[in-house]
Symmetry: C2
Subunit: 246 residues, 2 copies
DNA sequence: GCGATGCTTCGGCAACCGCCGAAACGATGA
DNA sequence: TCATCGTTTCGGCGGTTGCCGAAGCATCGC
């Protein structure tokens, strides 16, 4: 009776994500890269014309944005908020089945390492976060995350581009990892770490997927010394690293 | 092509919320109280039999739980995680329309004060949070929230039941308020404050709605001294206060 | 200029799903 | 015991919506 209006707005957004094809599109985009309509069609598993309709709806709802370039049309999520919403829904879906469910390696590559819009997720990201926490550079919890003084000094010396403190985007947002159920790092720090990992070759994008391939260098960085402090030969711009193709 | 599985799980949950009747049911339940099937039917705006079907689906998905009592059947959200998901989706829906939308007093009572599962939201809650922050008891930000030392002392002296530090539930989780777009307080502190506000008569539940009525006492508490430190005549158990009927 | 490619619009088909009413079930109270 | 109330199950109807293929626009390369 009351609050009918809220229910309607809630339902319209949810029903948008509630279609399998559209959900697949959003999943594909939640890697953070811009993809063409054709690529998205193959991700969605439906024809080009159908995909076009879906994309129009998503765009009208403001969940994705369009970028015309040449004869291609690139689509990307309209912002981190949308990505966060997707991950939240994902987490809630995971709690969903009270029945037994095969917890097995469903998309093992994704569980291992994947990009989550503008930062990393999966086992690799979670372990990275824990290493940093062990060394006293971070504190992560349900309540959020923050960088300690030692951490600030470390990241600064390490050459991470954290950007000015300005802007409303939080420095360190902690994300409950959908597959691992432990925390990984988001926010500006998460973005910088992702760019750094790509720049140093710790991880590499896998074409046509959110999955990331963890290189030997990446393994070594995590297992061994982690964050030796030689500066990079060439500083990596976060945006440049993130938008480079697979 | 890849990550099809993720898309499917995402879609199943989202499509569950994507129906207007079910969304209304979830909205009604997100006040935190348990409601009967009949009440939910009137909230949903559909017949009893239809509602029954919806409830079965929601329950099977693990979003709500059932409690049989006499010849009634009580339904409630299965946990704070579900409530958080709903609020997140709500927030994302709000960013949705890039077009002009009437920002007017849509459900004014709800914007003023409402319960959000186990804590308060709306203007009242936001202002309360800001008062506490001004006085240096809290720090709230995108990254999360935490209670300062002064705050700990204050809340302890004030007699808030914060519960042991144990348990995985965060003490102070900050929530972006759906209507106000500013922060309000969740987590264990949010629950304790809600119980306190109910116990002291600052706010009262409105029957059949998430809305809360702010009493004169409540106004006074907020505007004037706020948190005079006379102890309550009778300590209020959080759960007791929260589950008391309207 | 021309064809080829990428994407969108349109029309029509089919399946899904939410809705209701009638009937069955279970619990309560006289 | 029997009526009553709250809730669920069942069967059937109707609207929505996702799907495709064909045709229409753009853009690029030759």
């Amino acid at each position: 009776m009351t609050s009918l209006a809220s229910g309607i707005t809630l339902a319209t957004t949810a029903s948008l994500i509630g279609d399998v094809a559209r959900a697949n599109i959003l999943c594909a985009l939640s890697g953070g890269q811009a993809l063409t309509a054709g690529e998205l069609a193959s991700h969605a598993g439906v024809g080009a014309s159908t995909t076009s309709g879906h994309l129009a709806k998503l765009a009208e709802a403001g969940l994705i944005t369009t970028l015309k370039q040449g004869r291609h049309r690139y689509y990307r999520l309209s912002g981190p908020k949308v990505a966060a919403m997707i991950e939240t829904l994902m987490a809630a879906s995971d709690l969903t089945p009270p029945r037994h469910r095969p917890v097995g390696p469903r998309d093992e590559a994704l569980r291992r390492a994947r990009s989550c819009y503008d930062h990393m997720a999966g086992r690799f990201a979670v372990e990275l976060a824990e290493r940093l926490e062990e060394r006293g550079f971070l504190v992560l919890s349900d309540e959020g995350g923050y960088v300690t003084e030692a951490g600030s000094a470390f990241f600064a010396r390490f050459g991470l581009e954290l950007g000015a403190a300005a802007g409303r985007r939080p420095l360190c947002r902690c994300c409950l990892d959908w597959s691992e159920r432990r925390f990984h790092i988001g926010g500006r720090l998460g973005t910088a770490l992702f760019a750094h990992a790509l720049g140093r070759g710790w991880v590499a994008r896998v074409a046509g997927s959110r999955a990331l391939r963890v290189t030997r260098t990446g393994e070594a960085a995590l297992a061994g010394g982690l964050f030796r402090c030689e500066p990079l030969d060439r500083p990596v711009s976060a945006w440049e690293a993130l938008t480079a193709s697979a």
